[in-house]
């Protein structure tokens, strides 16, 4: 079995990399894949909290890379979702403790055991980012519809291209009301600048904060629009490439629905 390593990155911090990694990991596992999510944000680990697995950590990715333990000792199995596994980051080290060669060695081991390995990259484009992308087969760039996030995503896309990785885009935290009023960039505006394949659009959702704080994966909430968006993205990653991309919409009236079908409004 040869798994696929997908790095989740953004350049800018706070756009939802960790939430996206956790949600996509959980959604891919719910689809029946063996999934490992790796927290590469050494020194500022969060993925364990988002997945509600923080009190089960014994070893972490730094221990594995530096051969202080086996890979299997560091892997934590999620008890709610079958086939979802976490390799946490270290909270005490900094990003320089990992080496590219070490990460590649561990990545090779992970690839033989899992279908999908999602790497949660830290913000920035320095050592931490480089360590996360060194073994990646694919990349997902997360971007929010604001100018600064788009610019940082653009930079990261350039860096990924220079490493022969073709990234795909998720536009996160879309507020349809604001887009309709022209107060927020639409996903078309973002696509105009970034011009890479779109993987999905995720609306702003209060449930994200609740699930992050409670450690309950977002995709397990059937009422959450963001969770549903991530489930659709996971299906697209999992091979259903023809699944249409749903544009978050604030309009619910009948006429708006009809005009949307006819393509009269964006």
């Amino acid at each position: 079995m040869e798994g696929k390593i997908i790095v989740v990155t953004s350049g800018k911090g706070g756009v939802g990399k960790t939430t996206a990694t956790a949600s996509l990991g959980a959604a891919l596992a719910l689809e029946g894949n063996r999934v490992a999510v790796i927290d590469m944000d050494i020194g500022l680990r969060n993925l364990d909290v988002v997945l509600g697995l923080e009190n089960r950590i014994v070893f972490n990715i730094v221990d594995v890379v530096n051969k202080r333990c086996n890979l299997n000792q560091a892997i934590i199995r999620d008890r709610r979702i079958e086939n979802l596994f976490l390799v946490p980051a270290s909270q005490s080290d900094n990003k320089d403790v990992l080496t590219a060669i070490g990460v590649q060695r561990v990545a090779k081991m992970l690839k033989s055991e899992f279908d999908y390995i999602l790497m949660d990259s830290p913000a920035g484009i320095e050592r931490g980012f480089e360590n996360s992308v060194v073994a990646a087969d694919e990349a997902i760039v997360i971007c929010t519809p604001d100018v600064s996030s788009v610019r940082d995503a653009d930079r990261v896309i350039g860096l990924l291209y220079s490493r022969s990785i073709t990234p795909k885009l998720i536009v996160n935290r879309i507020v349809p009301d604001m887009v309709a009023k022209g107060n927020m960039l639409s996903h078309e505006d973002v696509m105009d600048v970034l011009s890479i394949d779109l993987l999905g659009l995720v609306p702003m959702d209060d449930q994200v904060v609740i699930s992050t704080n409670t450690g309950m994966p977002l995709v397990m909430h059937n009422q959450s629009p963001a969770g549903q968006a991530f489930r659709r993205i996971a299906r697209r990653i999992n091979g259903e490439v023809d699944l249409p991309i749903q544009v978050p919409s604030a309009r619910v009236g009948m006429w708006n629905k009809i005009s949307q079908k006819l393509g009269l409004n964006r």
Binding site: V147, V150, R151, D152, D154, R155, G158, L159, V193, S195
Partner: protein
């Protein structure tokens, strides 16, 4: 050191001699010089063909006939003539020649790129720069010549680096964060020209932007000019 031009010069041309004479000098001096030169030639002067070049000076027919006489009687030269007159070129013809020269001799000096210049990427060239694609915000393009962007220009642009004030910038969609031409910088919004092809250049020590199709900055040039 003063390098004086001699009043009379002699050189061999094809099957004869070319005698350059300065008509401003006194006739005796000229005659003396000619005698000196032709005595040295000895028998070579006999039956030779001589062209007397007065440097295009008018009204020196007397001088010319005197020299002819002297050469024929004293040195037995064959034919003495004046240089063939050049056919005056018509203005039309010279224009055509100039036109042809303009782009035949001009080597292409442009860097042409296709694709998107992304944030953090920097393109520096000493040539003209043509980008068929977009320049994203956060990107930087620097050219020692002119810059033409066939797409959206949203980054930072520097034309005529470091001090060429004749440089210009043309973009189909002109929304740069900063424009610098030569030593003059400007930043600000260009919302009035949204959706138009913009031509930016220096006028009165300021960078001015114009609607390219409306102002036609090169429309008045009489014929295509290579830059």
């Amino acid at each position: 050191m003063i390098n004086e031009i001699p009043p009379v010069k002699l050189k061999g041309v094809g099957d004869g001699f070319w005698l350059t004479v300065d008509p401003d000098v006194q006739e005796e001096v000229i005659n003396k010089e000619i005698c000196l030169l032709f005595e040295r030639l000895q028998h070579l002067a006999i039956n030779a063909k001589v062209v007397i070049d007065l440097g295009g000076a008018q009204g020196c027919d007397d001088l010319l006939t005197n020299i002819k006489q002297l050469l024929k009687t004293r040195f037995d030269v064959g034919i003495v003539t004046t240089p063939p007159e050049k056919r005056p070129e018509s203005i039309e013809r010279s224009r055509q020649l100039e036109l042809g020269k303009g782009w035949l001799t001009n080597r292409s000096d442009a860097l042409i790129l296709t694709g998107r210049v992304r944030s953090g990427q920097k393109i520096e060239t000493r040539r003209h720069l043509i980008i068929a694609g977009n320049v994203n915000p956060g990107a930087e393009i620097i050219s020692s010549g002119n810059v033409i962007v066939l797409g959206s220009l949203q980054g930072k642009v520097y034309a005529g680096y470091p001090d060429s004030e004749d440089a210009f910038v043309i973009a189909l969609d002109f929304r740069p964060t900063q424009v610098q031409i030569g030593g003059i910088t400007t930043s600000g919004s260009y919302t009035s020209l949204t959706g138009k092809t913009v031509y930016a250049s220096i006028a009165n020590n300021r960078i001015t932007t114009q609607d390219y199709m409306e102002s036609q900055p090169f429309g008045k040039l009489p014929w295509p000019t290579a830059i």
